[in-house]
Amino acid sequence: MKKSIYLVLLADPEFEDKNLNLIHFAQINFENEDLNAVVVAPSDQGIEEKYGETGLNEIDILAYSQFSKINLAQTASVLSDYFVSQAHSLILFANDKGTTSIATRLGAALKENVITQANQLTMTTTGLQAQKKVQAGTMLQQTVLTAAAKAVITCDVTGINDRITTNTTATITVKTAGELVVADDVTYADLPVKANDLENAKIVVAGGRGMQGPAGFELLQKLADQLHGALGASRVAVNNGWVDESTMVGQTGKVVAPDLYIAVGISGALQHTVGMDQSKCIIAINTDPTAPIFKLADYGIIGDGETVVKRLLSELSTPVPS
């Protein structure tokens, strides 16, 4: 079955890493399909360099100076105008909060099926099967769309980090956006402190209730710094005010997939582990040998979090090269 698949790429530094991950996700899932993209950007400058040779078939650039990542309603409306007159079957977005917000608005405007956080898409003879984690990450839901059905899908591209190598060149067309609706009247502020590091960090050092208090988190921060990693936390640690909310990992917090995740004093509740179970290597440090986190762990130490972290700090005091 032939499908016309469109990836939506929003040209903003906040989304750009995941744009490339989305292209790769689509290539993994749709090996035999042409992949097209629509890039929404403030101007067409630099788009060809960025996406022209990433294996896409056709790229339409919707360039208009008012484009901004925070204009959710405006961007959704531009995309809806575009897709109303552009034959398509699947429209794929990456799974940032911002891109998801636009995807759901677009799906609602087009009145097409919406599936968020799909982690696998499979073309079948009768249509498309989309798979995602449901029930707080304990089960899989497999949704079957008929061949004629259209869908807007946000893809869970966490952990898809490979860069694409191809030698095809995309056909690029710059299109004018339709009449713009008024821009959203909003302001944007960066989150404080280290929040920005967490999602891209190669190493995450995370703590939970077992770290006992803010002092424990100072130790974890030191360890994170020493390993050139970022600090993460469980919800209990955040709720207790030991550490900033932006560090929370899990269903409500961030989803991360670093090379190494060190979980100290974290029990491994499902709502936490859905945010980190894709990590390449997991180390658990916990006093309780029956804590569920050990089921996920590649390595573990049964022992007091503070003691172990202090020893790690002293034994690693020759910094590892970054």
């Binding site: 609602a108 029930q135 769309l145 004629a148 259209k150 409500t252 961030k254 130490i301 690693l316």
Partner: protein, 266 residues
Amino acid sequence: MDILVLIKGVIVPTQKPAFDEKGQLTAETSTAILNPYDKNAIEAALQLVDDHNGDVTVASYGVATTTEPALRAGLALGATKAVAIDSPLVATDKDNDSAIGVVLAEAARKLGQFDLILTGSQALDMPQGYVGALVANSLNLPYFDNVNALATVDDELVYTTLWEKGTITGKVQEPAVISVTDSINKPRLPSFKTKMMAKRAELEQLTIDSITVIDQSAWDDLNKQAPTSRLAPLPVQKKKSVVYQLADDEAAVTKLITTLKAQSIL
């Protein structure tokens, strides 16, 4: 200020879940509860009403066995009115998220004039985070999602949306649809008294037998394209963990570091 909170009775698995031939949880191995994320939406509504007067209505679409526990839990938290919504227009053998969103929009219009319609950020059982967008679009209302703070500043309602790396702040133009995160507030606990009242309270019923909020052709299209879905257990990856005991092994940390370095993990 009158607020409608859309709440879902979510079907959550018991300890030993089993699936029927359609790949759905069997009734014996699942229970319906109020979606925990919707408690935050109810709490946000109650706080706004405390400041501005008005009523909080909770409404839920579905079969009575799922809507009733959700609605009673909503009343126990302090909602003034609870409405169970149903519709013969929605096929039950399909996965009808989009149709349900439109039916909820239709219901909201029938239930009266609201200053705000609130939803939770996602359903715990089948998280989509989509219903709010559909309701807003169908009713032609502005939509604000992932809202992490709502505050009245100079008589205007200001919202903050939380993203991975930053926050968006703007004014809510009422009427509007808002989906709130579960970190916006700490939901109150029902008191014994409100629990007892909620147990006996009358639930209103609303049947949606025609759709006026969107075109008939769009409605037909949406139903024709509705997918089917089934659940499957998550395959468990068995990991061979290497676990050291600090209590009987003084060198546990050294050994761990040596192993990690040998594997080029550190």
